[in-house]
Symmetry: C2
Subunit: 574 residues, 2 copies
């Protein structure tokens, strides 16, 4: 495997051996490169920052659900290190080209033309990106299809990324040719935009593909791996039935569904925006209830959401998006929420950050609570010349500051997702202490706190949740390095031999004899890289806490957030 | 002396004895109250923050130049503690009412009507503030004159403060009835706006005024004090001749005048915006070259700037404002810059923060370099419904973020003033290490680095400047607690008995026997209060540094910024 380094100012490139990065992939690799090569005090939009795309260690193989990609950089939103994770087609193709990472370095003058980068087995081609002419991502993907021939597999920024807005995403082509998958969080699109790279197209035609140390062993391990995923009730059936949207009713029932900017844990109209409702509509209208975000996925938690006329609206329409544009702003029109999800993909903006930004606009009196059409209109301003679009597109903190709001649901300036931390305290600990800012995926304690998968820890009580979050953060950092979808954790946590099977896959791919302990040690090392970068960037324990107003009691269970800063540091102590 | 506490939600008040705050005044008092009473993790716009107005220890007395006021709170701009200092009439009147501080606490609902507070010898009156109807500060001052009878002495926020924008000021009525003096830095106006207080009028009619422990001794000390100020070349003649604008040519000559967003230390059109030019125009047009910002000022560094028709435009038109709207954005139309200064007073926004925000708009391509009318038009949007006004009004960091700029001249998110830190390194150390963010007044090493007053330390070399800045920061914290204008430092530094005379004034006012060492110890304690608040708010040594791009060489002397974080910490070590 090689590292491909691209100088975006000179439009030059070189391949490097793995060297000190040998054995790393995915998040472990992006975070190590950022730690080693990006000065912690660099401005995230400066030439000193680097943007790294790294397939996981198992990406490109036949292993089920191994096609995720890690995108790393210093985040312009949080100022911390960032790994943002996405599905789509790019990861597997990069891996099949023998690339462990693509590193975008330096930056051109600010008015330089946008670059299109094309990576093939023969090297890298640079060109001025095809004219955008106000096209949003879906339409622009078609332009790229034409430019690169056939169906192009790309990483693409939208107009938000071109404006270097802090909530901007990098979108990835999904298996159906749409730019519907996102490295959503932390403004990775802005870093790409600052380097004046509009898109990276990857074509692995003619590449020799993945080599295995022991292909038969790999096949055998993958057979068991697939079985583990297919037989677990969540990964085998639950996610395919309703996608992540199945959580709306579950989290609402638990009293943990943040409603009206985290004022209540239950929403009277939750059923209107539930996974059950979504599936019912999709089936009635002829959409598709389940499909995968990358080839080789056996969970199929994505979907093809269609409108009343059966026309495609969006896919990858997640629980967090439904929650954010729905209950948290008192909106319960699921079709409108689907349209907002589409607008976010079109502009290249993070749905969680945007959903909270919209509630800040409601808090600040710019639009009314529950006014979905007004919320959608705000999103549509992002990436245009309207300065309001720049306020919204810079995220929740930016919108709060513009409208004088002091009830701001962020940690390290990143907006909180769809689980009230007072009622799902394990996730609250993750929000507060993980290296990325307000994020649920970094230690998804919803499993133990609510779903009772992989353990049972009361989400309403303090006891056990710091330790739980810490352990999940380690396991997650490990999984994020393999290219595996995070949802494998549901099955892994409940299946005694699963971690060994994952190691069997790694050993059969690369040779060697790593153990589950080694895999967890890699997770710990990754977190250490991340926390030490953050410390050098000026973060302290005081930044590892929720906003003060979470001390307020949350109805209906009247739970509060009471962890001291000292308590929480245990989640970062390895 | 008493502390007056006002609950802005209940519209109630109470007087308290000084208690643990006895012996403190001005900045020493505001910072101690913030340290003791405001949680470091409070949102600056929340009910947990407090806004404190504190006359200095000598304010209200007959002592020359003792009429400054300290305004303290947690800053919404920087997130740090803040003391912002202003002239005007309020300080002396509060002191004559026997008030050491007025503390605004709590906050009403966000749509509550704005309050007008009136403080007299009989207590506090609350009313809904007179309708604003789009009036800016000058016109609104007249409404308040009418409402409160005769010439009202007020602290007033503009429309920027009402929108809780982070660069908003609190304006104070000057001796000529105009709201032309500012507590400019750190967004104190936003804190007042968040508490829904539009203005505080103070009327000391019938109050018994200042009591002296030994009035004759006070008179004798003040005679010497006045003599010291009047005989020093800077405080006695220099400032009265050209105001602070005299610095334009001096700093330009030194190669330290930041030009085009700190790309050069010299500006070819500096003479067009110089103090000499200003004085020439004022004299020709029949304005006033010198006047004071408060009664009892013997320096008279302010002026009455008039237009071609002799009509008043602005006063308190400082060097930093000339620089910021002039050379740093490549504008050299002094009349236009005067108009921009006026717009800032009208809206209630900080000229230094706004000047740098305007250059961010130039960097980001929103307006052209050197386009003064476009810059002025941006300022005029602040406080209106135009969202661009909210971007600009939230300051330099906000504007940079909105337009994707990575060359951002801020420390702790507060914009840098008019001295390039590479060429005036003592000021650079102050920018980096003082508790308030990018600020020159906290340790004004221009004296020793350039003017050679009170010592001679080369501003182009590292040696001696950390120690210099530290000593100046201590002396400044001490002076800021007396209510004395900072410019007394020019004379104090050059006059052996000056510190003793200041102590004589304090002792004659309050009794006691404090020494110059005691006064400096108060300065140290004030800085410790401030730094410890900031530490609890999450600031570390990594925040005590300039942006990385100051490592670039500055023409014409090709000086760079090379202090390590460790080196700089010595300026905070007492």
């Amino acid at each position: 495997m090689k590292i491909l380094r691209i100088n975006t100012r000179e439009r030059t490139y070189k391949y490097e051996d793995m060297g000190e990065y040998a054995g790393l992939g995915g998040r472990a690799l992006t975070s190590r490169i950022v730690r080693k090569e990006v000065p912690a005090d660099a401005h995230a939009l400066s030439a000193d920052n680097k943007l790294i795309f790294a397939p996981g260690l198992l990406s490109g193989t036949m292993a089920a659900n191994s096609g995720r990609i890690s995108v790393g950089a210093k985040s312009p939103l949080t100022g911390s290190i960032k790994e943002s994770n996405s599905g789509g087609m790019l990861s597997q193709k990069l891996a099949k080209l023998g690339l462990a990472a693509v590193v975008l370095e330096d930056k051109p003058e600010k008015d330089a033309p946008f670059t299109a980068i094309r990576i093939t087995k023969d090297g890298v081609e640079f060109s001025d990106a095809p004219d955008r002419e106000g096209k949003d991502n879906y339409e622009y993907q078609k332009v790229l299809d034409e430019a690169f021939g056939g169906k192009a597999t790309v990483a693409l920024i939208g107009t938000a990324g071109e404006q270097c807005l802090q909530a901007s995403t990098i979108q990835f082509t999904d298996p159906f040719g749409n730019p519907a998958r996102s490295a959503g969080r932390g403004g990775m699109g802005a870093v790409m935009g600052s380097k004046r790279v509009r898109c990276i197209a990857v074509d692995n035609s003619g590449a020799k593909g993945i080599e295995y140390a022991d292909k038969d062993a790999f096949k055998a391990a993958n057979k068991r791996w697939t079985e583990i995923l297919k037989t677990h009730p969540v990964t085998g059936q639950g996610l395919a039935g309703f996608g992540t949207a199945i959580l709306v009713n579950i989290i609402n029932e638990a009293g943990a569904l943040p409603t009206k900017n985290f004022r209540s844990g239950q929403y009277e109209h939750a059923a209107d925006v539930s996974g059950e409702k979504m599936s019912e509509l999709i089936e009635k209208r002829g959409g598709k209830v389940h499909e995968g975000c990358h080839p080789g996925c056996v969970m199929q938690c994505s979907q093809r959401y269609v409108d009343e006329n059966g026309e495609y609206v969006t896919s990858g329409f997640e629980y967090e998006t439904l929650w954010g544009f729905g209950p948290n702003g008192l909106v319960h029109d699921i079709d409108l929420i689907a349209e907002m999800d589409r607008v976010c993909d079109e502009k290249g903006i993070d749905t969680i950050e945007m959903a909270n930004a919209v509630t800040m606009a409601m808090e600040g009196g710019l639009i009314e609570w529950g006014d979905g059409p007004a919320a959608k209109a705000l999103l549509e301003k992002v990436g245009t010349d309207d300065p309001l679009g720049r306020i919204i597109g810079n995220g929740t903190g930016s919108t709060a500051a513009a409208f004088g709001v002091d009830r701001v649901p962020t940690v390290k300036n990143q907006a909180l997702p769809a689980y009230d931390p007072r009622a799902v305290k394990g996730v609250g600990v993750t929000y507060a202490t993980n290296p990325m800012g307000g994020d649920h995926t970094a230690g998804y304690a919803v499993c133990q706190n609510v779903l009772k998968v992989g353990g049972d820890v009361d989400g309403m009580k303090d006891d056990g949740n710091v330790e739980l979050s810490k352990n999940l953060q380690v396991a997650t950092a490990s999984i994020d390095s393999t290219g595996m979808c995070l949802f494998v954790a549901f099955a892994v946590l409940d299946t005694p031999d699963a971690m060994q099977v994952l190691c069997d896959l790694l050993n059969a791919r690369y040779g060697g004899n790593i153990t589950p302990d080694d895999a967890l040690a890699l997770g710990v090392q990754t977190l250490k890289d991340e926390h030490s970068f953050n410390a050098d960037a000026g973060f302290t324990k005081h930044d590892d806490q929720l906003p003060r107003w979470f001390k307020e009691a949350l109805p209906p269970h009247n739970v509060t957030w009471d962890y001291s800063e000292e308590d929480l540091q245990a989640a970062k102590t390895f």
